[in-house]
Symmetry: C3
Subunit: 340 residues, 3 copies
């Protein structure tokens, strides 16, 4: 009996990226791209039956840049996932360690045909809390699937790095970003739905950054429709980086608020699948300053060479990145992905 | 024929730690704990028969923090172990590379029911040279088991990191901490015994840090008794860290001397095993300054869910850490450990 | 069907190195050596049949120091190799990612009995472009074997690290070292031949560093003869490091030119193989300064304990390192290598 499964994905391609901010700034890059459809990784996972429907479960997953061989996730060895847990048929599962939040687990694939994949086309570029947000020091509980429903809730003692001590009379101590993540998903026949909520205590803001998302999908078989709506408040969990010169900001800021929208569609096309989506972040004024609507338009295609290997092409155009007027990002690429 | 075995352990739990120094300092932490019973790891090992009773042997073992996914052992890829060697039925084994010293191999499990495990309960918190001390650049020879006896001796060209060059007329060159480790152990029926000696040349002290340990155990089947005695001189090999604000010091200091004591007991309890130990470091005065006796009281319990998976609970209280008056550390935790 | 192969090599030994520069500088080191015959590594590789003679191929190879357990290749996780590709019986193979250049693939084993192995005896110590030069962000195409001939060509968008953006009006941007590598090899019966060309655009030099190599070998069965000739211009691709105090220089310098020569021989000796080589770099004057001829004399012996395990001994003496008068390096060592 094998007690461990060794697995992985390599995803490398060639792409073009351009970032502009008004007439003053323009940056370009042509070259190898990596992890566009799926982050390159190798991992170890296993399940052991303990009797009475109880199982021990673990997963260690190591992310890397397939263009350079460097570890991803700030140099972590198992930066994508590092958990041990117990699973019971009747009561669900409990996982301890580094893992994605509930929004990244439940929301992405429902709300967008791209899910959390394909770089800028990734639903997380707009719905930040679903931007494959990984938290350290997490305790997570998820119910079993009840008639298509699953509920999950997690708490991270510190989302990024080892926990800090709480030292009496030392205000610089206890510098932990505590995170709460929860959500519900439903999948039954053609219908998919997900509702998620995340909040992070961050020292930069007075209070907590909060975000919730609602996603729906319906599979008409000829086409599959996806839609999502959400709100983020006092910051932007999972803020990403559109590239050189693009506004990024820490995105933890009192008063920052945005309504988030997306609609998307996927359909079989030849032996592959075509995907398209639109997503928008509609910011409120921030401290009297007007922020523009961030819009992202994306188109992609995947074609299976086998069950484990496929090629893909994608293009995405974003405007008013993080609310900055006339900040644009264009990304196109083709790639090869292999799973083992 | 498989030429390599992939294996590992994940150990994660939830714990509470408090460190106090008199009335002036108090630090606390509640959250995920990792590697308490066994350091989380994955590894590769193998044995190849070369004929005539000769075998090639290797082991590569990678330690990591299961709460965050970061590599342990200062970011080493194979920080727990990296050796290649030869083994002969008649003459023993020779291993080259990074590995633990003899005290960590032979002494811990004899002298304490906790062995080198369970954090502060670890026998190495008192007997530093058995504190899972890993040395780089080591050549180690160990005899076969002769009627229960095994002898080992190792030399490290530099215990920590790549070897430095010895440049003529450059006193800053040749900055290598050379280590010698040796010991004898005996195991036969209910009796276990271990005697070890370690010394490290360190530039901080004028001379060498030295430590020896003697451990004894007897298994009455109802209970197993453990005892250890040792001495450390001009420093403290394998000095650990009790946590934020706890005295740690480099522990290489001319004139530092301590007698080390421990007694412990383990016994089956229900379907598990209960363990208890007391350990003390009795320091001599250091440069006219009085140092207090460091005492550690520990209690633990492990319960097997299967041959490969168990849960555990432990608590430990330490006083006068590293001789500092009224410096206390309390640690309690529960965890889940899985081996694959 | 297994979809991934786990493999590796560990190579550790004991050696002595001395570097002298005239009467003023002398540095010595005795201790563990690692990766002398083969860099210590573990890796994952696989091939999947996609039908019609097409295959998906990947290889992830992680280098490490077997004396200390640290990752090699500047801390990369998969620093030796990280590629995904497609392979067709009729058209050859295309690999994307980090890998060695063509000179390192084709030239070394033809031009020298040591190939790219055995430290200072390595043909790359003289023919730098074959010094196991690994480039990130590479697209490489190689033909199939046609009657013993194989042709390859590769382009790296940036040889070392993630690609830099090209920002308008920012001369510090686009700091990419683009590399081109190409070559032809022939192997048929007793004859081996290789011709390679490499160039790298580097900001330090005005223009490009260029190097070409020609290697020939003939296997008389009693002995195998090897010879190589090459030229390097405006720098030295794959410049290595002979050790403490040895001249190294960045080796990218306008006007630097050298003719490169080597001859070598290998022969069965007892149950093993003996290897010997001489190599020279004959520098042109550089900016009016005379550079001396670098010469390297090497002798080695390998002895197989099994198909997967061998021991080795080697010695090498180098004079006028990188053209510096009276700069000498001596290296001797014995080691144990195991493949799994």
């Amino acid at each position: 009996e094998t007690s461990v499964t060794l697995y992985g994905i390599i995803d490398t391609g060639i792409g073009y990226n351009k970032v502009e901010v008004g007439d003053n700034y323009e940056a370009k890059k042509v070259g190898l791209i990596n992890g566009v459809q799926s982050g390159s990784r190798w991992g170890l996972k296993g399940t052991e039956d303990l009797g009475d429907g109880l199982q021990a479960i673990f997963q260690l997953e190591s992310g890397f840049d397939s263009s350079t061989g460097f570890s991803a996730q700030d140099g972590r060895l198992f930066g994508r996932h590092a958990t041990i847990g117990l699973q019971g048929e009747s009561w669900g599962r409990l996982d301890l360690g580094r893992q994605t939040n509930i929004a990244s687990k439940y929301f992405g694939d429902v709300a967008s045909p791209f899910g959390a994949s394909f770089g800028q086309a990734n639903v997380g570029a707009t719905f930040g809390s679903a931007n494959t947000v990984r938290w350290d020091n997490m305790v997570m509980y998820q119910t079993p699937n009840f008639s298509g429903f699953q509920f999950g809730v997690g708490y991270s003692f510190n989302t990024n790095g080892s926990q800090d001590w709480d030292v009496d009379n030392d205000p610089t101590s206890d510098d932990n970003d505590e995170g709460i993540t929860t959500g519900l998903r439903y999948a039954n026949g053609p219908i998919g739905a997900a509702l998620t909520y995340d909040q992070v205590k961050n020292d930069v803001v007075d209070g907590k950054v909060k975000a919730w998302n609602l996603g729906l999908s319906y599979d008409f078989e000829v086409v599959k429709l996806h839609a999502g709506f959400g709100q983020t408040k006092d910051g932007w969990i999972g803020a990403g980086n559109f590239g050189a010169g693009a506004p990024r900001a820490d995105m933890y800021e009192d008063g920052l608020e945005a309504n988030l929208y997306t609609v998307g569609v996927s359909a079989p096309l030849g032996a592959g699948k075509v995907m398209a989506s639109w997503a928008m972040a509609d910011f409120d004024d921030l401290n009297g300053q007007e922020l523009d609507k961030q819009s992202i338009y994306s188109l992609g295609y995947t074609y299976a060479l086998s069950k484990r290997t496929n090629i893909y092409a994608y293009g995405s155009y974003a405007d008013n990145l993080y609310g900055l007027d006339d900040a644009k990002s264009t990304a196109v690429g083709v790639g090869l992905r292999h799973q083992f």
